[in-house]
């Protein structure tokens, strides 16, 4: 269905010989399908039928019902030499996958056959098969999924103790099919760490030859925490975190080359961000030693990033600069939040630059910016015109700091969705009257009101939480 050029295709089909051959092919195929279905209706189960289905599947690997039929035939008679063997099934799926490496039912049948003929199938050979298929297309997720399934078989995941089994399953090493037959208990305790390490090395090899291998990074994102967990079993939280950071530092070395060599390739950047994010220390109200070392690590990434940014920006706003700026922004904000390194303004500048240069994503950057402001923003009081609808008066605080109070606290009047700032003059606390340039707000035990040249507007007090985000945004927008 995908990817045929129209002009080429039209040229092809207007060729009489081609159409003649194709018609012959269709008629032949249809006859084969008919023959299969006739046997299926009679529930025929023999090697001849198996072969017939194989001929059809070799032409159309996605014909799921025929894969089902094959499985039924295989299941119906488990005596040796009966219909279907590991050899026949691996051969047919191999043929089909050569033709269509993305055929869901073909991969599924291979997986099913591997389990059904577990005495005869060879897990190492199968892993080798996936390595070869990945050479043809390193992004084939069907192949990666099958490989993970094979690793789970190698590890006899379903025979492992509950906790370990759950851990491996949640890291992607689950059987991927319902009610798989139980694996025979392993003859010796399976070497989990070495196998996972070997998988990690496999991905290192792939990434080193092509930084654009997102699938390999993805696999690493599951392997690394699993390996770390197994390596630090029984260790203290401090030791575990220390090991985590060592692992991260090693990963960063690998990524540094990727980012600097091909900054426009987003694969490494997504993974880079994830690495830093997943290495954050346990939360705490104080500045722990863990927070300090993490901050050091984050900080150490900033200079190379700034260097890369100036290199990239010398050619204009390139994709590389976009990614680097985004990640630098993330790092600076994280540092600020973590230990108050006062890099907030720096981060804001970067965000403003991104808003101007990466116009397509403007709304994303604005959301980040506004959220940051809103985090420090608080509605203190809100009054609404009595009778519902109508006008709203609210007092808003946006952060704290040095300077005149009205930089951080102000009253606003909202009329028909539009905000205007009320210029504060004085507060008669005793009588509950706040004087503004355009009127006075009176609040006492009986109620509230806005007194101005237009007369008295009765107000009712409302809950702070009733104020919509967009109203707050409006106030922030008109503040200065």
């Amino acid at each position: 269905m995908h990817g045929r050029n129209r002009i080429e295709y039209e040229a092809k089909v207007s060729n009489a010989d081609f159409t003649k051959a194709l018609t012959k092919k269709v008629i032949n195929y249809t006859a084969l399908v008919k023959a299969c279905n006739a046997r299926k209706a009679k529930k025929v189960s023999d090697n001849e039928t198996l072969k017939l289905t194989g001929t059809v599947l070799g032409i159309n690997p996605d014909y799921a019902t025929l894969w089902n039929y094959r499985r039924e035939m295989i299941k119906s008679d488990s005596s040796p030499g009966a219909v279907g063997t590991w050899t026949t099934e691996s051969e047919i799926t191999n043929k089909c996958l050569q033709k269509n490496p993305k055929s869901y039912p073909s991969w599924f049948h291979r997986k099913w056959s591997f389990l059904h003929f577990v005495e005869d199938s060879n897990v190492q050979e199968e892993i080798e098969l996936t390595t070869n298929f990945l050479k043809l297309d390193e992004r084939n997720f069907h192949c990666w999924n099958y490989r993970r399934f094979l690793i789970s078989q190698s590890l006899s995941v379903s025979s492992l103790p509950t906790d370990l089994r759950a851990l491996l399953c949640s890291s992607g090493f689950a059987p991927q099919l319902s009610s798989p037959p139980p694996s025979p208990p392993p003859s010796s305790s399976p070497e989990i760490l070495p196998l996972l390490q070997s998988e990690l090395n496999f991905t290192t090899h792939l990434i080193s030859s092509n930084f654009s291998n997102y699938s390999a990074y993805h696999y690493r994102s599951h392997l690394l925490p699993l390996i770390l967990h197994l390596q630090t079993l029984g260790q203290s939280p401090a030791e575990t975190y220390s090991a985590k950071l060592s692992q991260t530092k090693e990963e960063l070395k690998l990524l540094q080359s990727a980012i600097f060599t091909e900054p426009s390739d987003q694969s490494s950047w997504w993974y880079y961000r994830h690495l830093l994010n997943s290495s954050s220390p346990p939360p705490s109200n104080s500045i722990t030693p863990e927070k300090k070392i993490y901050a050091e690590l984050l900080h150490s990434t900033t200079s190379p990033l700034r260097e890369l940014i100036s290199l990239e920006m010398s050619e204009g706003f390139t994709p590389g600069s976009k990614w680097a700026l985004n990640i630098l922004h993330y790092i600076l904000e994280t540092l600020d939040a973590l230990i108050g390194m006062n890099l907030g303004d720096d981060a804001d500048e970067i965000l403003d630059m991104l808003i101007l240069s990466d116009e397509d994503k403007k709304l994303r950057y604005l959301e980040i910016k506004n959220e940051k402001v809103r985090k420090k923003t608080e509605v203190l009081f809100v009054f609404q015109e009595r009778g519902g609808g109508g006008e709203v008066f609210l007092e808003v605080r946006r952060g704290r700091g040095e300077g005149p109070k009205d930089k951080y606290v102000s009253w606003f009047r909202i009329k028909e969705g539009k905000a205007s700032r009320l210029k504060f003059k004085s507060w008669d606390k005793e009588n509950g009257v706040r004087m503004f340039e355009t009127g006075a707000l009176q609040v006492d035990a009986e109620g509230a009101g806005w007194i101005s040249g237009e007369g008295l507007m009765e107000l009712v007090k409302r809950k702070k939480t009733d104020v919509e985000r967009d109203v707050v945004n409006e106030c922030l927008r008109v503040w200065d």
């Binding site: 992607g172 319902s178 397509d360 945004n473």
Partner: protein, 363 residues
């Protein structure tokens, strides 16, 4: 090829040509069922989905009654019921094909557009779907046991359409989908599988139906999805892959459910989709200058509707981003779902107004 997105002048994009696309759809059936059609023969197993894509495309371009009349709804209805397997309760992809969740959903979607869900033995179909849920909350596609998050979506959507969502353990179903979340905020076919825009749609929509969008890292996922937009304005399904019209649906609908459709450049995407039309023979292809097919036709039209490039007032019907059906069909059936409150500058969206709205989960 990563290149910076330059604004594409819409003057160079062709107009949307509904008439020629309607013609394309109308002649599909006879074309594919011709005994000499190779394409017809090798896609026979998924005909139920093909009919759904055709019918839905027509429905989005016409009124419901016009669409059903043009498409010979009587004949289709008869055929759909012939694909029902009474034994299991599921629907197959074509007559003589084994039942499967994929085609069960497509059949129900077709019947929903006809307003003929009462033709179905609800109890049996519900029983079929229910029987396919596994202990971990996942769903198998059929009795053979393949697990994939696509089937979670097929199951939950089917049951929701039949008004029987509670017949399965929705909580566990959502938990399973959640377990398929990756480092980039995206989702794959099963736990440990790489994020892919198509799978992301099925997972996000499933979580929407299950009302567990709190499991989604909205900021991260919306960003990842937005970065699927390439230099030509089109969207790809994963980093460093080619853009394809079908992602206009998978991604736009996902973004809409999580409230951040405005994070992609709508104008250049619309231009890309329009360029993928075959304005002579009709239909929409995966890429400009390629052969059209009904799959890409449906997703291209849906994409243009979600972008607001095609408007209701001009004779089109709105498409629902959770159920992939005309909005009026979804509303008539009273289907429920959940969405995330719109991001900044997102504006209002009446299409999703009847769905439960929640705030995004903050990191």
């Amino acid at each position: 090829m990563a290149s910076f997105i330059a604004p594409t002048p819409t003057a160079t994009a062709p107009q949307f040509s509904p008439d020629v696309h309607k013609q394309y759809i109308l002649q599909l059936s006879s074309k594919l069922s011709s005994p000499t059609s190779y394409e017809g023969a090798v896609t026979s197993h998924l005909r139920m989905s093909g009919v759904y894509w055709s019918l839905a495309s027509m429905h989005l371009m016409c009124s419901s009654s016009d669409a059903n009349e043009l498409m010979n709804s009587e004949d289709i209805l008869k055929w759909v019921m012939e694909c029902w397997d009474e034994g299991s309760g599921g629907f197959g992809g074509n007559v003589g094909h084994d039942p499967h969740l994929l085609y069960t959903l497509s059949a129900l979607q077709i019947l929903a557009m006809f307003g003929k869900l009462d033709a179905v033995d609800t109890e049996k179909v519900v029983g079929y779907v229910k029987g396919l849920q596994n202990e971990d909350g996942s769903f198998s596609g059929d009795e053979h046991g393949e697990i994939d998050t696509r089937f979670s979506y097929c199951a939950l959507s089917s049951l929701s359409i039949l008004g029987a969502l509670d017949s399965v353990d929705v909580g566990k179903a959502a938990e399973f989908v959640g377990s398929c979340q990756n480092f980039d905020g995206g989702f794959g076919c099963n736990c440990g599988a790489e994020s892919h825009a198509g799978q992301i749609f099925t997972c996000v929509a499933a979580l929407s139906i299950a009302k567990r969008l709190d499991l989604v890292d909205v900021d991260l996922l919306a960003w990842w999805l937005a970065e699927r937009q390439t230099g030509g304005g089109g969207l790809n399904g994963r980093p460093e892959k080619q853009s394809d019209v079908c992602y206009s649906w998978w991604i736009l609908s996902s973004l809409e459910i999580i409230g951040r459709r405005s994070w992609v450049n709508g104008e250049s995407l619309a231009t890309f989709i329009l360029k993928c039309q075959d304005t002579d023979k009709g239909g929409i292809a995966d890429r400009p200058d390629n052969v059209a097919d009904v799959f890409h036709t449906f997703f291209g039209i849906s994409g243009l509707l979600l972008l607001g490039h095609l408007k209701e007032g001009d004779g089109y019907r709105q498409v629902d981003s959770v159920y992939a059906l005309p909005v009026d069909v979804v509303k008539k059936l009273g289907l429920k779902a959940q969405v995330i409150e719109m991001g900044e500058g997102g504006g209002e969206d009446k299409r999703l107004a009847s769905y439960e709205r929640i705030k995004k989960t903050s990191a």
